[in-house]
Amino acid sequence: MELLAQVEGSLSAVGYGLAAIGPGIGVGIIFASYIQSTARQPESARLTQPFVWVGFAVVEALALLGIAFGFVFG
């Protein structure tokens, strides 16, 4: 069979790009909500800040799993 196009190497980078879409949107939503809630109620800024970071870390974990597994199975 005649080869018309060929891809060499690993598709991990493309896969990771796809995997980062979800966490990207998620992290965006988290910070958007934090900004919005702080704008509505500035005195709650200190109160909600730890939850912002916890939520950010939990969502970001998905993207980081993508990096790790890209190398593990790549």
Partner: protein, 267 residues
């Protein structure tokens, strides 16, 4: 036609002279002393971090003054931050007794993360998953231990697994809660820190070595792009500084919130 030749030449140069593209092998550094292959840069860095933190706090608190010196002020700020903003805010009044652990954890992770961008050191021990695993296991044992000691094993399990929900969703909910609390938590705690440091180092390698590869290219039009690549490397070093601080903070905040969850009365 000429363009193709240049590209091919660039790739060959890269493979001959440089470890480009960066790979996992770049993280396995050789032993420092021939006879002891297990003494690597990472071993040295971890002991350096431990020694630096101990000496810094001992010196800062040796002669505490009412009007603090600069060193004492830094040490008090770090401990005060871990005690007030993390331990008391997240765990509550009884969180004060965890403040020493949280402060040491924060300092150790922060310093070992910052090794990733300090010139001539430029690799973080946390970019090997073994070190984050140990830290995560300590936190995992801690929050389970305080929970079990407070409530006893059976009630602790009941507190953490059975949520107030209708009985017919419990068969789904209990396995989910079990997996998320006792399996995913320590796993993500370790992998998050590891992956951030690993990815940060890989990104810096890509732009630094990529600059060298571009500079070695034959085409005069490709060479100047290496400056862009190195400028990116410098900019990303500052981003890595931010990530180093943020990940130390996130690790400690998550540990504190797990402890507070284990100590909480009911859901």
């Amino acid at each position: 036609m000429g363009g193709d030749a240049v590209v091919a030449e660039t790739v060959v140069l890269a493979q001959d002279d440089l470890p480009f593209p960066p790979s996992v092998e770049d993280f396995y550094l050789p032993g420092l002393f021939g006879a002891y292959p297990w003494i690597t840069k990472f071993t040295l860095l971890v002991w350096l971090a431990v020694a630096a933190i101990i000496i810094f706090f001992l010196v800062a608190y040796r002669k505490p003054k009412l009007v603090p010196t600069f060193g004492q002020w830094i040490a008090e700020s770090i401990y005060g931050f871990a005690r007030k903003n993390i331990a008391e805010d997240l765990i509550g009044h009884e969180g004060v007794r965890f403040a020493p652990y949280l402060a040491s954890l924060f300092c150790f992770i922060l310093l070992t993360n910052l090794f990733g961008i300090i010139p001539f050191i430029q690799i973080s021990p946390n970019s090997h998953i073994a070190f984050p695993i140990v830290l995560a296991v300590i936190s995992y044992v801690l929050f389970n231990y305080v929970g079990i000691r407070r409530y006893g094993f059976a009630r602790y399990m009941k507190n953490s697994l059975i949520l107030p929900a209708p009985f017919f969703v419990q068969p789904i909910l209990i396995p989910i809660e079990f997996v998320s609390t006792f399996l995913i938590r320590p796993f993500t705690l370790a992998v998050r820190l590891f992956a951030n440091m690993f990815a940060g180092h890989v990104i810096l390698l890509v732009f630094t070595l990529g600059g060298v590869v571009l500079f070695n290219a034959d085409s005069i039009f490709v060479k100047p792009i290496s400056l862009v690549s190195w400028a990116m490397a410098i900019a990303l070093t500052f981003l890595e500084a931010l990530v180093a601080i943020l990940q130390a903070y996130v690790f400690v905040v998550l540990t504190a919130s797990y402890v507070s969850g284990a100590l909480a009365e009911e859901h």
